[in-house]
């Protein structure tokens, strides 16, 4: 069907001419308006942020990113990695980890841990960011506040090695009975329930940071909610916090070791989880560091970027539900599931990031043993990829359960990209090798934890990041009393070994216990290891001294420094 054609040709021609002139004019006007708007935006906009590059040599500051807005900067309550990273820059406790991941003096200039008594002597020049002295009382206040049942801190358990702490936290004893006392302004004495070998490492954890009681009360319950409602004991202080948008750290002039802090400011200019956005920001030199996903590696090599990697310390695994009535309580089924998968394939072929390692044990490779790394001294039992064996175990499981066909098995997983890809990978592997139907239940992180706690799963893709540098942070994961043992695994022998590791002062005895725990976890197939997480990242070549590590601040810029372009290698 043809469109009706105008009868007057001449009119049409002039109309076309008019239209052409008009459209050219319209385009010109639009372009002019856009330039004008851009100019106006330039006049009014705060270009302090948009114009600042990744490295500002003149002002001696760098720009970086955070994945999320820190949910909680009150050290008594914070539980997550992002808050940990921010707190690691602006706060310091009695002890801290140095560049080589060893415990070193923080606000305490020296310390002594003997038997059940630990004493810390604070530095004379330990000061808050308002210039007031940090005293032993500030620690007593912070620790008691965390243990206060009214506060309900999730991390209160980390104080339990201290005398009466557990009883005080449950409300059975007054807070004053907790074994921590300020002998004077600069001496802090801690009484422990029993001698423990890793107390110095615990003290470096963020929950052990001090809080000034006077300041805490003056915030009227909003401690840590804004940049102004925190007092800082660390190398930097937060000068601005625009929630969800940006954070700015400036050097804390009252920090005792300020001479060794080289940057004047750290600008967290972007808060986003979108990896592609971050990559573009890095390409445009807006941020000094970026984490790369597997898809970005080829591009990064083309750009000739200098790449680094580190292990962020976490271990990821499939955990089982051991509640009565669940299929996953059957040992032979669990064995079948383990032998039917090849742990290397997931890491090497599916995730394919060089930082990742197959998780052969719940204890990651970087943990220290007695002399060497723990995994060198106590090698993890080797599993194998053996489909025939797996099918045998599956048949046994069917007989024991008295069923001929397995109903669908629920695999609970996060919605993160790696969790999504891993869950779909396992779904297909178990379908192909064992003929099992796996249904994936994707949930956001919090919801996954809630569902794990209520026992609403058969298998779950789970993970654990270390709280302190000792194998115990992983070893007690499956102890029957641990709240994080959400699958309710209960094994008396394992519990006994965890108790040994907690209570012994002899490193050899403790490591033996961890070795036995490792064997029990393998024999009972308490988990199927997926991977130890790593990260590949690119850094601006002008910034040196950035530390990335498993414990404390994941990315630590406190001792970073800028090298001018000419001398950069």
């Amino acid at each position: 069907m043809q469109e009706p054609i105008s009868t007057e040709e001449g009119f049409t021609r002039s109309a076309v001419k008019q239209l052409a002139v008009f459209s050219v004019l319209a385009v010109l006007v639009i372009v002019a308006v856009m330039y004008a708007l851009n100019f106006i935006a330039g006049l009014t906009g705060s270009d302090s942020q948009s114009a600042a590059g990744a490295v500002d040599i003149e002002n001696n500051e760098i720009s970086v990113f955070l994945r999320q807005d820190p949910p909680q900067l009150d050290s008594t309550r914070s539980t997550d990695v992002v808050s940990g990273t921010v707190l690691g820059h602006v706060m310091e406790g009695l002890l801290r980890y140095d560049e080589n991941f060893e415990i070193t003096a923080g606000l305490a200039e020296r310390w002594e841990i003997e038997g059940t008594k630990a004493t810390f002597w604070l530095r004379e020049d330990a000061r808050w960011s308002n210039g007031e002295a940090i005293t032993a009382h500030d620690f007593v206040f912070a620790w008691r506040t965390t243990l206060d049942p009214a506060v309900g801190s999730q991390y209160a358990f980390i104080f339990y090695p201290i005398k009466n702490a557990e009883a005080a936290n449950t409300g059975d004893m007054p807070l004053e009975s907790v074994g921590v006392r300020a002998l004077d302004d600069r001496t802090l004495e801690v009484e422990l329930e029993q001698p423990i070998a890793y107390f110095d490492k615990l003290v470096a954890f963020s929950t052990y940071f001090p809080i000034s009681e006077e300041f805490y009360e003056s915030t009227n319950g909003r401690y840590g909610a804004e940049a102004e409602s925190l007092l800082y004991s660390g190398p930097f202080r937060m000068t601005s916090w625009v929630h969800g948008a940006s954070i700015r750290f400036e050097k804390n002039p009252y920090y005792w070791d300020a001479d060794n802090i080289h940057l004047d400011a750290i600008n967290i200019a972007y808060i986003t989880e979108d990896t592609n956005t971050l990559l573009n920001l890095y390409k445009d030199s807006r941020i000094a560091l970026v984490d790369l996903t597997a898809e970005m590696l080829e591009g990064a090599m083309q750009q000739r970027w200098h790449l680094d990697r580190f292990m962020d310390g976490s271990v990821f695994y499939i955990e089982f539900n051991h509640r009565p009535g669940r299929l996953s309580t059957n040992l032979n089924l669990r064995k079948a599931l383990r032998y039917a998968q090849d742990d290397g394939e997931l890491v090497d072929r599916v995730i394919k990031l060089p930082g990742y390692l197959p998780a052969k044990s719940v204890f990651p490779v970087w943990l220290r043993g007695v002399e060497d790394t723990f995994r060198e001294e106590y090698p993890a039992p080797e599993s194998e990829y053996n489909v025939a064996l797996a099918r045998e175990y599956l048949e046994k499981a069917k007989q024991e359960l008295g069923i001929t066909e397995f109903p669908p098995i629920v695999l609970l997983a996060d919605t993160s990209p790696v969790a999504t890809i891993s869950s779909q990978y396992y779904q297909e592997v178990y379908k192909k090798n064992l003929g099992l139907d796996i249904v994936i239940d994707p949930q956001i992180f919090r919801q996954r934890l809630a569902k794990m706690s209520s026992g609403d799963f058969d298998l779950v893709l789970s993970g654990w990041g270390p709280d302190y540098n000792d194998p115990l942070t992983f070893a007690d994961l499956f102890a029957s009393w641990n709240l994080n043992n959400r699958g309710h695994f209960d094994n008396a022998e394992l519990d006994a070994q965890v108790r040994i590791a907690q209570n012994s002062m002899d490193q050899r005895v403790r490591m033996d216990a961890f070795g036995k725990i490792q064997d029990i976890l393998f024999d009972e197939v308490v988990f199927i290891g997926n991977y130890e997480r790593g990260r590949v990242y690119a850094t601006n070549p002008q910034v040196k001294g950035i530390l990335r590590r498993a414990i404390g601040a994941e990315t630590d810029f406190t001792r970073a420094y800028i090298v001018p372009e000419s001398t950069a290698p």
Partner: protein, 466 residues
């Protein structure tokens, strides 16, 4: 006289009064008489765009319904050897023995007098085995892998491994090896663990390999074909490439088309039906009832779709791994009918006043007869156009909801979820996004153009313009 009289007189017989035989051609009407639908079909046929769209839609239906019988590949099967493979990539592989762990010893045939970084065994996509001699003067060593030769900028590529010992060592690389040339570098680190300019470089050509068991398991060759080590086989053919888990994109597009077209056709059909029933009732009864019914329709228009989607998922108790297609269908039907209802009501109100309706009523026609025989057929054109325009919007809604993860459950594919998955690899493997995106766009465009053509063909007022 008699002559004249005889010649001028006409003798009439009885035959002359017989009726003439019936003749059809007498008025010379050459145009065949056509019904409304024949006429509409003729107009549609003359509209090239609409006709092309119609064929496209028929093709898509065939793709979804017949395709899976012709291309019998499991859409959820993962081909780990061919992850994110672009269409038309080389897929030959050589048969090698089963992988066994390596203890660092040099494989026979690879002994050499060379020093420095070198390979200790055949390099293939199973593993690249590297050995090196002691590096004096270094504090530690770091092994890098690159896909470009190392140039002056000292960008070594991917850090693969780090070694605290600077003695002679070995390393087996198994990370995502593809048939390509890799440039390995072993770089010395100084006391502060910083990179020094001292490094050894090695270029390694990697061939793609496969084991005999894998060939048999995946049935890459006929079972009666004898195979020996070193033979070359072709890996499974993926005409549209594979996705991030090595799944065949063509097969996923076909199974995804079923989901998309199911929602796209069933949902509009049902909600248009509901809308027609509701709208014609309101329009026919009129008065207060019409007022109340149309206010209810206004209320439904105001309900937010996405919120209701989520509520329906909760109400339906969609458990893990269950598809969200049913709640999506219900939500679409319950929330999309008012547009059709309004349109039909308007038409019915108009037709109610027509003379032929009054005539029919005078002749004793019942209400249901009036509605079904006179009113709805006269609004059918409008209804059909609404239907064709509702299809693309439903397909788009499905794609959008699957894209944000509220649609199908993995491993079921839908075009929307495939686009979502392809988005992550957009920069490196664009085919994973482009194919589902093309299919969504084509389908939506085809239904829109067809709807456009139908409107032109069915609108009776357009006829006078011809």
């Amino acid at each position: 006289m008699s002559d004249l009289s005889s010649s001028s007189s006409v003798t009439l017989s009885a035959d002359d009064f017989a009726p003439l035989p019936h003749r059809d051609d007498i008025h010379g009407i050459n145009r065949p008489s056509r019904s409304y639908w024949q006429d509409a079909w003729r107009r549609l046929k003359s509209n090239r765009r609409a006709l092309f769209s119609l064929w496209l839609i028929i093709g898509l239906l065939a793709f979804a319904l017949i395709g899976p019988f012709l291309w019998q590949v499991d859409p959820s099967r993962q081909d780990i050897d061919q992850i994110s493979q672009a269409p038309g990539a080389d897929r030959s592989a050589e048969i090698v023995p089963e992988y066994t762990a390596w203890d660092g010893s040099v494989q026979p045939g690879f002994e050499s007098d060379a020093t420095g970084l070198r390979i200790g065994a055949d390099a293939n996509s199973q593993s690249v085995r590297l050995i090196w001699d002691a590096v004096p003067g270094a504090n530690a060593l770091r092994l890098y892998r690159n896909i470009f030769p190392i140039d002056g900028e000292l960008a070594f590529g991917l850090p693969i491994a780090e070694f605290t010992s600077v003695e002679a060592g070995f390393y087996e690389d198994r990370l995502d090896l593809r048939p390509d040339t890799y440039y390995y570098t072993l770089v010395s680190l100084d006391q502060d663990m910083n990179l020094s300019a001292q490094y050894q470089e090695l270029a390694v050509d990697v061939r793609r390999v496969i084991t005999l068991d894998e060939v048999r398991e995946r049935e890459l060759v006929a079972p009666d074909v004898e195979l020996a080590l070193g033979d070359e086989v072709k890996l499974s053919f993926h005409p549209f490439g594979t996705d991030y888990l090595g799944r065949d994109i063509l097969a996923r597009l076909m199974s995804g088309a079923r989901v998309s077209l199911f929602i796209g056709i069933v949902a509009p059909f049902l909600f248009v039906l509901l809308g027609v029933a509701y709208g014609s009732t309101a329009g026919f009864i009129g008065g207060k009832v019409d007022q109340v019914m149309m206010r209810i329709a206004d209320f439904v228009v105001a309900l937010p779709f996405l919120l209701f989607m989520i509520l329906f998922q909760v109400v339906f108790g969609i458990g893990p791994g269950e598809s969200g297609i049913l709640p999506m269908l219900v939500a679409l039907i319950l929330l999309s009918w008012p547009a059709t209802a309004r349109l039909v009501r308007g038409q019915i109100l108009q037709i109610r006043q027509e003379a032929y309706v009054s005539a029919s009523r005078l002749l004793g026609a019942k209400n249901y007869y009036l509605v079904l025989r006179h009113m709805i057929p006269n609004t059918l054109g409008v209804i059909l156009v609404t239907l064709t325009f509702a299809v693309p919007s439903a397909i788009f809604t499905e794609a959008f909801l699957s894209f944000i993860g509220m649609g199908v459950a993995p491993p079921t594919a839908s075009w929307g979820s495939m686009s979502n998955e392809g988005l992550a690899t957009m920069l490196t493997h664009p085919h994973e996004l482009i194919f589902p995106a093309i299919f969504i766009s084509l389908t939506v465009l085809a239904f829109n153009l067809l709807g456009d053509g139908l409107r032109d063909a069915l609108d009776s007022r357009m006829r006078s313009l011809e």
